[in-house]
Structure formats: C-alpha cells, structure tokens
Symmetry: C2
Subunit: 484 residues, 2 copies
C-alpha cells in the first residue's frame, strides 16, 4: 500500500484537478490538515512537497501553500542520481580549494560557498556578546580550556538536543573548530586508510576533501532530490563491500540537494547500519534551518541504540561562520575522538565558545532562528524564481526542504566547469561547479550549486542574469555543434 | 681549533681558579666582555653557559653571572642522549593523552603541561582587547575569514619577523589553530604515511602524537643538553635512510631540554638539509622566551635559500593559550599547506586573530614580553633550587636557555612513570613522565619534565617537596634491592 503521505497527496491533487482550489488559492494549512484528518505534521508536509515537486502548489513564505498558476512554466526537479557500486579514491581537486578560497573574497559575488550574508547574521549582538563574554570570563579567555570544550557551551547544547529528539548530557559533546574538524575527527576515529565511506551523491565537497586527505575511498549512493538515499541501495552496498568504515550523510536539508530524510527512513537507516555494524556519521549542520512552516526535524541519532551514530553540528550556518564553533557527539567513539582532538589541536579557542554559550543563554537564539528560517526560505524562493526566469527552459532546480542551497541541473552536454570559470574570470561571480561534488570530478559536469544565503539584492539579480546568459549562450552553440 | 666560546670559557675558568673573582662576585657583563674583547654577544653567552654547566658560575635574574659558592652542591646537567639509527613507528600513548587532559584540570597542581599561569598572562588587558576587537570588527568577527587568516595579523607577524632574522611579508604566513595545527599541516604537506621524520630526542610528546596519527615513523637524534643535536649524527641519518621526509626541531629553547642551537649550527643545519633536499620544520614556539639577558635568537629560517624551511610559531606561550592562535610560514610548501588548511578547518576563528592583531598593535606586546622573560627566568631559577634541595643528590637538572621547562633526570633504575602516577593519584600533582617524550615510550623512564610557568608559590613549593620525597623514597629501596 502507498504510504499515507502519498494517499494524502493524491487526494489533494484530485481536489485541485476538480477546481476545489483555484490557481492562486491558499490550501488549508499544514496544521489544519493534520488536525482535521488525523495526520502527523510530517505526513502533511511530505504530501505538500510531492505536490510542489509536481508543480501543482508552491510554498509562499510566512503564509503557506498555494495552488500554482498552471501557465507559469513548470520547473523540474533535478534528476535522480545513480549509485556507482565501485569504491573510488577521491581525486585531489584544486577546484574545490579554489571554491573555498574565493568564497570569502570580498571581490566576488558569493554564490559559491554556503555562507550567510552579514545582513542576516546577528552581527552587532554577537559582537556585544563576545565583548561581554571576554570581560566576564577573562581567565577562561586567556587560558587553554579542556580538550572537550567549555562546559558552559556543552550544557547549552545538551539542553538544545531535546529538540532534535535526543537525551544528551554535556559529557556527550566535544566542541570542535567548526563542523569540518568534527567530520575530520569522526572519520579518523572510525577508519583506517583504504577503508570505504558510503556517501550520498552529490556529496558536499568539503567531505570529499577530508576523505581524500585521510586516504579513504568512497562509494557514492544514489539520491532522489526529495527522498534522499535509497535504503535498498545502501543495503546492497553494505553487502557488496567489506571494508565499509562508515556511512556519512547530511540527514536534514542536505548539501547540495536539500532533501531531508523522513523520520521513518532515519529509523530504518539506523537499524540497517546497526545490523551491519557500520557507524553512521550524521552531519546535522543544516538541521536548524528547516522551512519555517515545519517542525525541527529529528536526527537519526535519536534512534541510536548502541552509540554507533556520531552526530555533528555547528553554529556556522546559524550564528556566525567566523567563530568556527562546531561540535560532535561521538557516541561510543567518545574517548577516541577526544584523544584525536587533543592530539590535533589541543583545544578549541575559548572565546568563541564562551560567546556562543552566552548567546545561547541570553541572546534569544530561538527568536533569531525563527527570523533566519523565514529570511532564508524567502531568498531561496526569490533566487529560484530568478533562475527560472533567466535560464534555459530545460533547466532543473532543486526544491530544498530547508537550508539555503540550490542545485541547478542543465542539459546533459552542458559544461558547468566552463560556465563557472567564465563567470568567475569575466564577471567575478563565484558558483560551485557540480563536478566538485563527486569523488573523481567526472559527474555532475552539467550541474552547479548556488547559495542563497544573502538578501536577493540587485547585485544578485544581475549575477543570476549574467550566469543565465552564459548558460543559454553556451548551451546553444554546443547543441548546434553536436547536430553538425 | 676550539671555537672561540670555548677559548673564552677557558680564560674565564682560569681567572676564577686564580681567584680573580671570588665566590659571590659578579663577573663582567656580557656586553662588557663582548665590547672589550671583540666577541659577539652570542659567543660570550655561550661561554657563560659552558661555565654555568660546569657549576662555576650562576645566572641571577636581572643582574648577570656570578661566581658560584663552591660548597653548594653542584647540580649536574642531564646526560647526553643517544641516537638510535632505526626508523620507529610511534606508539599510541594514552599517557600522552592523559597528560594533556589533566593538564588543564583545576584540581591538580599543573607541573605537567607547558602552560603559563594566569598571574603572568595579560589576562585583563587581553579581555579588554578582545572586547574592543569584537566591537571594532563586528563583521569580521561573524564572517568566515580567508583560509590564510586575517590580514591585519599577518601584517603584524611579518613586521615582527625582522627580529627573528627574516624578511617576510603577510602573504608568507598562514594562521592556524595553535602551533599544533601548524605542525600537523607542515607534516602532512611534506610527507606520505610510512615516511621518516628526523626528530631530536627527547621530543615534545605532542609532535610524537601528531606523527603517530599521520602514520609516519621517526628516527630519534641524540641531543646534548646545552648544544642540542649533533650535525654529524644528522648527516649520518640522512645518508642511512632514504625515506626521510623532514627534520623537525625546536631550534630555540627546546622542549623539553631547553637548549638553543647556536646561530652557526642553524646555518650549517640549513645547508646540510638543503644538500640532501630534506625540508626543515622549525618549531620556534619558545623563541620569544629567551633569557632576559640575551638577544632574541635568530631562526634557522633566516638562512633559508630555497623555501625549504617551514617556520612555525604561536601566541600560546607568550600571550594566551586559550586563543589558540598559531602560524606557519610554509616557504615553498605554501600552496599545499593552504589547501590542507582550508580542507581541514576552512579558516581559523576570526575573533582570536583580531584580538592578537590588536594586542600586537596597541597592547605593548614587547613590554609584556620583557616582563614575561624576567618572570620566567626567575621561576625557572626558583623551581631549580627547590628541586636541588628536595631531590636525591644524584638528580640531574637541565639549565634551559629560555622557556620555562625543566628536564629532571633521576638514577637510571628509577621509574618516573610510577612516580608520576603516585604524584597524581595520591597528591593531585601532575608532572610529565619522561617516557612520553620517546617514540616507543621505552626511553627516559627515569626522567620527567616540570613546567615552571607559574609563580613559585607555597603550593608549588609543597608540590616539589612532595615529588622530591617520592623520588627519594622510591630510589632508596630500589637500590637496596639491587645490592642484595
């Protein structure tokens, strides 16, 4: 039998077809539908996302779901990707490095890195908090803290973990220099060089970079742009390969595609991996940036029975990337991770940790998050519209379940690398070319990722226009050349 | 022919023997001798150190060198160590980890880690600087900075490098999370797993930990407690082993023995390594903490012709370990190091960097350093005296040329590990047992390191008494048992 979200989606679809709701009409709210028909909020949302993906409805920020004007061009979601059942070394990529380096340059339009603009970060309040933290804790600021991190911050994190579905205590956490260090520690704790890491594909390039640096290999699992990985594929991979050291996934608002695994998939995922004795490294860095109309998605860690789920997060996507404060809940790998942490960097700088701890305690972090979610949903919508308007008709765009990243897929023979290079060199616009999201750099050559972490100003409108023009121009002659 | 410092030392020795200067008399100052006889300051200092090591003279803080009372017991320097011409894997050591973890606990007397006490750090001033940096640069505090680090700080460092004998520019520097990350990046940039790193022995245990983590091997070079490594041994090792990826040394105020390589040795060292095409990783973390009566020692990097010297430093030993601000001048490995940096931790937190930059610019860092050097020299003297008083007569103590570490050598059959464990478990006193300064944990089992980074208060006097009592007690029955 179809799952209940599918049944609900079908019912709503029929209602729309039957002109129960006209184009432009607002559909009942998620809460109303859930209450009236006894569904969970998640089921209703899932149904809406299916309809959205078919182009039948659209989400409007702070408002709800509306029936779409059918005359508006339907933007397709990216195609489902394929699993490649082969363990691959990750190729060194100077492009990945270039993407990171240029991403923080003031002289380029920053569509490349997943960084938030200053206009949406609580810049002044954070500076005040940092100043008062320094004055309040002068000794802690100067002295080297414990390798696990400042206890004040670990307390705050443990309290927040309830919202993720976990019961955790301060001692479960190790504070890190951003999620990058956390990923690095997690991978080192569970693997030996040559081991295989199962990743979703496309994969955040930073993860590939770390995997390459540790001499690990990857198997790239297929993903659906809405559902994420397929557990059948995962099981298949677990059966085929015997040196699988871990499965590493962004379970909520993934990077780059933006899907979130359903609660049920998370549960089954944890069960399946436990059956094979393979740890899950769960990167929840975008978890707080779910869509404003939805609940905070749970983490797979909440289903962890034996400590084999390693949960990772950060404040870089919610508060300030400049603080470089991340964290890891290493589960049964706690001692090993702590050893590696103290051997690599002794301790995380104290002042950024104190700043975050004070902000969490006194800075109305949750109110900030609510504003941030609305802001980001709005930018994602505006960037999506601009891309739809300015790009070739065949362009496919992801509909993220949160976060602020868009995955753009052009026609198959399109060379996104060439586009990225021209955008950067001629127009100082940075986008992240798709191939850096694959292990060998050979896949997703017709895709790129666009970050919507800034307010959609005329500067960004113009940049999208420019990139759209490049996309239109370079796909036209190419097709002509092919037809010769 | 003997080197000139040897000749000068002989002359002064003869003068003392001939009662030109009586016990308690102050010898001519370093500057006077240098001026009067046309020596360099370094030559005179070297001569004084030879005399000091023979127990003929003693340095008194802020004052100069004095003829020693001959009836005072002569404390011998540690014995010269041996080179082991065998490439060794570094053993995992939970002891090293324990040393780091306990080192920052408030409940133990901190003689274990090389950390400075709050009383000597500019805690209030630094907190004020951090607060004003946060308010002055709110955007930079929140936003992710460039992987190479904040330019303001790199500028300050490049200006300071003149005093180390180097001409450097901001672009030569990459800012890191402490010297630990810098060492990690340097080693990764020059080596592949299985490669050999030439290290001085005893070696700072943090370096061994990093080497172990990267799957590298070491060859441990002999050291003299005053002169440091022997270049003959080094050449021998370079000839014998063909997978030498780098030589890693603390060239100034080494850890744990406290020697500084002479300027001439540094020059020859760089030439020798260049001949074999082997990079030098120069850890200058204690370079600013030379003895107050001496000049800032030059770095080997100042003799670098082709960029194969990688220079590393930090503000953890001079300003605040809690900031975790270190740096690396990677020379010809610049691009590789920057790539690894951005792949491992993206960027160093901004606020600690801004705090250091502002402190360097406005905080009278040099005045602070002058006070710090005097303070540390005094503590090293007071801790040394206390150890001499409270430990068995056969105890040997290093006479560091700077920094704030003492290396204590007990009789050969002594078990320092047992002593460290008892001191910790029964008396909550942390010392660093000697064996963690060797690759396999089998050497220096009769040694331990004591940190003198705190004011010698009654708490420390008592701790030294306690450890001395343990040392006396456990060596007595052991010798009796041996004589049976």
């Amino acid at each position: 039998m179809d799952p209940s979200y599918q049944l609900l989606a079908d019912k709503l679809h029929r209602q729309i077809d039957a002109r129960t709701y006209l184009p432009g009409d607002r559909l009942p709210s998620v809460r109303e539908l859930a209450k009236d028909h006894g569904f969970s909020l998640e089921t209703v949302l899932h149904a809406f996302r299916l309809l959205e993906n078919k182009g039948l409805v659209e989400a409007r920020v702070r408002s709800g779901f509306y029936v779409r004007e059918p005359r508006l061009r339907l933007i397709a979601a990216p195609t489902k990707t394929q699993t490649i059942f082969r363990a691959k070394d990750v190729a060194v990529s100077s492009l990945r490095h270039q993407t990171v380096t240029l991403g923080t340059s003031k002289h380029v339009v920053p569509l490349g890195l997943s960084l938030l603009g200053s206009e949406v970060l609580p810049v002044r309040k954070l500076a005040q908090t940092a100043a008062s933290a320094a004055r309040r804790y002068p000794g802690e600021t100067s002295n080297q803290g414990p390798p696990a991190g400042i206890e004040l911050l670990r307390q705050q994190l443990a309290q927040r973990a309830n919202a993720w579905g976990c019961f955790l205590s301060p001692d479960d956490f190790v504070i890190t220099c951003g999620a990058s260090e956390a990923l690095h520690l997690a991978l080192r704790a569970v693997s030996q060089p040559g081991d295989i890491i199962l990743v979703e594909s496309p994969t955040y390039f930073g993860v590939l970079e770390i995997i390459q640096g540790l001499g690990l290999r990857v198997v790239e699992l297929a993903t659906d742009p809405v559902q994420g990985i397929d557990l059948g594929d995962l099981e298949n991979a677990l059966q085929r390969f015997n040196r699988v050291a871990a499965c590493l996934l962004v379970t909520n608002c993934s990077n780059p595609l933006g899907y979130s695994l359903s609660t049920k998939t998370k549960h089954n995922l944890v069960r399946l991996l436990a059956k094979f004795g393979v740890p899950l490294i769960e990167d929840d860095i975008f978890g707080e940036l779910h869509r404003p109309e939805t609940e905070r998605p749970k983490v797979a860690k909440s289903f962890d029975q034996d400590g084999s789920v390693i949960l990772i997060g950060s404040f870089s996507k919610t508060l300030a990337p400049g603080l470089r404060v991340g964290w890891i809940v290493p589960g049964k790998f706690h001692d090993r991770v702590l050893e590696l942490k103290s051997a690599t960097s002794l301790a995380t700088p104290s002042l950024p940790q104190l700043t975050v701890a004070e902000f969490l305690k006194f800075g109305s972090f949750d109110a900030h998050l609510r504003r941030l979610r609305k802001f980001l949903a709005e930018q994602v919508y505006r960037f999506s519209c601009a891309i739809a308007e300015n790009f070739p008709a065949s362009t496919r765009i992801s509909r993220p379940s949160g976060g602020f990243l868009l995955w753009i897929e052009l026609e198959e023979d399109f060379d996104a690398l060439e586009l990225a290079a021209e955008a950067l060199n001629r127009f100082r616009i940075a986008v992240a070319p798709g191939n850096i999201f694959s292990a060998t750099g050979e896949r997703y050559t017709n895709c790129f990722r666009v970050s919507c972490g800034h307010a959609f100003s005329p500067r960004f409108a113009e940049a999208i226009q420019t990139v759209g023009r490049l996309a239109a121009r370079s796909s036209a002659p190419r097709r002509m050349a092919n037809s010769r």
